[in-house]
């Protein structure tokens, strides 16, 4: 539900970067989206389309890369990737000791801009 606010923040940053590098036409923006970031890819794309249409950023593209959830077991300390792609990804059983809860989330919570392609 809050993807509009997220994309609004994203576009604020994109415009700052375009100005800083004296560029005018955005071709694409590459964003990495953690599975636990709470942002839904489809909703991000829809918000991006809605918020760029008929603006200076019209015709640009949002490239999303989903980042899997990496965990560190709270019991034995081993790191592993969660096979679960949903919001319960942090509760996957540890492949080494079987523990299901108390893992530390190493990555997969962030929503980051990697780069922009512009002219």
């Amino acid at each position: 539900m809050h993807e509009l606010s997220l994309v609004q923040s994203l576009l604020d940053i994109v415009r700052q970067e375009l100005r800083a590098h004296e560029l005018t036409r955005l071709k694409a923006v590459k964003v990495t989206c953690g599975r636990l970031s709470g942002a839904v890819p489809d909703a991000l794309h829809m918000a991006f389309t809605a918020l760029t249409r008929d603006t200076d950023l019209d015709g640009s593209r949002l490239d999303l890369e989903m980042v899997p959830v990496k965990l560190q077991c709270g019991e034995c300390g081993k790191s592993f990737s969660s096979p679960d792609k949903g919001s319960l990804a942090a509760f996957a059983p540890c492949p080494s000791c079987g523990q299901e809860i108390g893992h530390r989330v190493v990555s997969g919570q962030d929503l980051n801009i990697e780069y922009i392609e512009a002219e």
Binding site: H2, D12, G38, L88, G102
Partner: protein, 219 residues
């Protein structure tokens, strides 16, 4: 031309949350972000708390709602300073809204500031406001399966308050199941069960509040 950016999409929110946090720490105010579905009893719990502890602590409230000042009026009736934020259509509070509201609030001499978030069991969890602690309310009529179905808010909270205990005889709700579900997604989560309406077990919540305030004062 490709330009590396490497910035967080929510960096503005995080920066402003840090600014809020610094301000709160300077005034040594304990700030609690209260979240839940609409109707779980956030305002009712606050009304009770403000009148029961009114002589013991100096408290203030920031009220987040999509529309109306109904809740702010209920809080104002207790005599405690309150600032209303109407988000219009947004489904959560963010740190800039809180920062703006802080302009209308005197933090000097304040012990506890409650931020009552917009009623919503999903989105508010993603936005830090600069608070010390997050509290999620869950009420009996919502069902004991909610922590597992909507984990993100329970994962990020330090305390879950189970409200509307007085309705337990009329509904199928297992306190054990709700607690186990919540602690499955967050093993460190503390749980306090109360009824804001009858006052049952509110003393446990007040004790929690006192001890957190003491910790904040020592920091």
């Amino acid at each position: 031309m490709k330009i590396p950016v490497v910035r967080k999409v929510l960096e503005v929110n995080e920066t402003m949350a840090e600014q809020n946090k610094k301000l709160f720490d300077r005034h040594r105010v304990l700030v609690l972000n209260l979240m839940s579905s609409p109707g779980a009893g956030k305002t009712a719990l606050l009304e009770r708390t403000l009148s029961d502890l009114g002589t013991e602590m100096n408290m203030a409230v920031i009220e987040g709602d999509v529309q109306t000042t109904n809740d702010a009026q209920r809080i104002a009736a207790t005599g405690v300073p309150v600032v209303q934020i109407n988000t219009d259509q947004a489904c959560h509070l963010d740190s800039s809204m809180v920062q703006e509201a802080l302009g209308q609030l005197d933090l000097e001499g304040l012990d506890v500031l409650f931020i009552e978030n917009v009623g919503n069991l999903v989105c508010p969890a993603a936005f830090d406001l600069g608070e010390d602690l997050k509290i999620t309310l869950l009420s009996v009529p919502e069902g004991d399966d909610k922590p597992l179905k909507y984990p993100s808010m329970f994962v990020r909270s330090q305390l879950m308050i189970l409200n509307k205990l007085d309705l337990l005889p009329y509904l199928e709700f297992s306190l054990v199941q709700a607690t186990q579900g919540a602690q499955t997604v967050n093993p460190d989560l503390e749980v306090i069960s109360v009824s804001a309406r009858t006052g049952e077990n509110l003393e446990a919540w007040y004790e929690w509040l006192r001890s957190r305030l003491k910790t904040k004062r020592k920091a």
